[in-house]
Symmetry: C2
Subunit: 276 residues, 2 copies
Amino acid sequence: MKRSELIENIRRKGSFLCVGLDTDPLKIPAHIAGMPDPIFRFNKAIIDATAPYCVAYKPNMAFYESFGAMGWDALERTIAYIRQNYPDQFIIADAKRGDIGNTSKLYARSFFEHLDVDAITVAPYMGQDSVTPFLGYEGKWVILLALTSNKGSHDFQLIKDQSGTPLFESVINTSSQWAGPEEMMYVVGATQGRMFEEIRRVAPHSFLLVPGVGAQGGSLEDVCRYGLTDDCGLLVNSSRGIIYASSGEDFAQAATAEACKLRDQMSEILKAANII
Amino acid sequence: MKRSELIENIRRKGSFLCVGLDTDPLKIPAHIAGMPDPIFRFNKAIIDATAPYCVAYKPNMAFYESFGAMGWDALERTIAYIRQNYPDQFIIADAKRGDIGNTSKLYARSFFEHLDVDAITVAPYMGQDSVTPFLGYEGKWVILLALTSNKGSHDFQLIKDQSGTPLFESVINTSSQWAGPEEMMYVVGATQGRMFEEIRRVAPHSFLLVPGVGAQGGSLEDVCRYGLTDDCGLLVNSSRGIIYASSGEDFAQAATAEACKLRDQMSEILKAANII
């Protein structure tokens, strides 16, 4: 999906919500867990319940991999289901991959050709030749980890170099020479608050994928106060807060309600900023 | 597998060779590629051909993932085959994972419980809570990326902080507070030459997993000159140089010959250092 289409979808829907499909069979409602094909069945219900209120889905690979071949199969069918029924959704494989060139090339083939997602999250530690194999696919995106939402983000990402630049800023500066904001986004955790101001100084136009609202404690208002650009520039993810909003038979309605609530808040923010 | 067992295997076999199972159906011999179940069939032949000369196998996840559910299935059977027939082999999933705590926990479950490998490679960028969920499994290991073999390793891993410490050294220093050399190793590329001296200053006892000998141009002699410890402390990986030594029907014999040649060089090195 092109940047212009993504922005158009955000404007049309009044939403920059990404729903994280972190589907854990131990957490899905008991009546679904007991049926055949529970992962796909749960995902399908969540997708049908939330599609009008979001612009993106983000399956987290760990949840599918933890079920081996069966999990992969459920993921493949989930992606095909979204593509077929909701072709305006942006699909992000949250994979945090990154390896030497010939291996990253294979990951790119796997995610962009085989699974056919729009974007993949990539870890920057191994540098340029671990990232560039994911670039150059028409309409496909790299979402590079910059400043993540977890406590461990402080261990290395904030280390300042000899000119006082923290590592996450070096990652943005250096990687912006590999690709522009038409094919590269950055992961910045919602828990990072004022750091969004800093990020916008070095990445004024890039889309940011923002996890950490909800269960991890980040605030939508704070993220938007410092992170919003003229054409939105944000995809804010919520996983557990939506997909596990209820553990009963009403889980899909509860997911609709949570997604709708976030969409309403986002619409207000977009209106206030004259983006819609 | 415990550290003492790994060292015992190295001494008994006179080898610290790890064979990288980077199985690419486009590169395996035509007569195998045309048969049913080519990935597992190729792996089985390579394993039977090399097991006497190596102490570890390292399937690279990218190669299996690029075939989706079918690839995962072939990988699961490959690991089961090694476990059943060569229980003294140390199995490393080269996955370079690392995510927020609850996700890393799932990856750990996936790799250590479901796939039942001995070790997984982990990327350090997200810090402590992305790494520690992989720790605490009896006999299982984290192999953390420190200084990788690729050109892009220079982009971020060598950035010096305000006290002059390069990032890869901070990764080793900080992570050594999370786990000792009984359950954590580091990836250091064979292409890094003299840097092994530096690494041994900060990680004197840790095992190092060393990719990059062979196709990537690293030298076994250089690695050992600076990297060898009293109980070896090295697992040197070769992938393409062994598994694609011949593209003909003699591929298994050619793999034996290459693995045997490396084992002989390693035996000489171990003898010269009075380790065997």
